[in-house]
Subunit: 229 residues, 2 copies
Amino acid sequence: MSVPRTARERARAEITREITDAARRQLAESGAAALSLRAIARELGMVSSALYRYFPSRDDLLTALIIEAYNAIGEAVEEAVATGDTPRARWRAAAAAVRHWAIGHPHEYTLLYGSPVPGYQAPQDTIGPASRVPIAALGIVVKAWESGELAAGAGGMSDELTAQSTEIATQIAPGLPPEYVARTVVAWTQLYGAVTFELTGQLVGSMDPAGPFFEYAVEVMADLIGLPG
Amino acid sequence: MSVPRTARERARAEITREITDAARRQLAESGAAALSLRAIARELGMVSSALYRYFPSRDDLLTALIIEAYNAIGEAVEEAVATGDTPRARWRAAAAAVRHWAIGHPHEYTLLYGSPVPGYQAPQDTIGPASRVPIAALGIVVKAWESGELAAGAGGMSDELTAQSTEIATQIAPGLPPEYVARTVVAWTQLYGAVTFELTGQLVGSMDPAGPFFEYAVEVMADLIGLPG
DNA sequence: TGTACATCAGTGAACGCGCGTTCACTGATGTAC
DNA sequence: TGTACATCAGTGAACGCGCGTTCACTGATGTAC
């Protein structure tokens, strides 16, 4: 997608955006399973077959939405991380960003982290955008490590886990010892578990409202990683 | 539902079971969104309208499946807990039971813990069965506490969280101090976060296969709660 | 034990709905000379 | 600058599909006397 040069290319870019905007609106309202090309066409005052000039199928449109959503939550987290001035503050901000984005976009969150849409198979193009949040999370830990602020790590990792964690460090957290990688992933999955449970109502009647519990969990996980601040 | 006395009642019970069995099979294959009364009727050699003698609507059938599934995972966890002879062994067994049940029944797991099915509102009757897993998890901690084996707890809880945790303890973990309740819920959400991520492919390319990471997380969470063994 | 009536399971047709996708077409925009 | 042709967006009709739910009905099972 280069810069549009002709009127046609400009129109095409604009209408493509209108389609994904309408799709995102419908996704937000009714969820991915209810997303319908015909309804989108209706909203835009087009005939449903016209959408096929822009997306070869419903799945391709869904893929575009997934990529957009990963980028949106990734950006939210990256921005949050940038506001913190200690490792722990950055972690808190990142966790809150995930939670708030999820609460604000429950159907999009579900599209990314919930059940796979029946019959839909996520393609390669989503991998990059999907990595932004975990990379941002590990970035906090890398930075703390580089400035020598991290508390010493516990051991107890299997050889296989050490190998996997080392590989992850090589790719996206250069220099970080594997035990911190593993613990960050533990914290990261805890975060998403708590958010998912809040969203799907599993905490109703117990940790309800979920805010105080969430904040506590964030601190406990910061301790687990060894983040100072 | 008392014991069936007449042939009619026996037939009714049997066919009701056949319907939920067929429904569960379809759920396992294609997921909740694709669950269709007509397909179930077809499989049973009935006419679709006949199902309305047994379930007033598709949603009621879904509710029955949800209750069954909560009971299935609840029972799996309860049985696992019973096999452990130290608190930590019980926790390990419970965590593994959740993971294996989820891997073996991904669509059912998703039905319980993933995205809400569009338009479906879970009714009251699911609450009891849904509580079996958390009650079992807290049961492990209560038992360890009662025998004085639990490591001392960290503080740092807000008043609101303390109140919520105390209330939970009153209801399902009598005698357990609130800080253990809160930490158990942290561990519990971590467990589900890790399982959900494994199931939805979020760990592909990083902690992949997820087994070693999962085992590590289980130990880290056992440490967090303070479980001996 | 036999009969009259009530209950209930299952049938088959129909209602009304919405969906994704294909295809031949028209008319506007862009390109090459 | 003007003309001939190619590209492309959007139309409208159609295909073929499956769905949940309602309703009047038949015939079998159960109950009361």
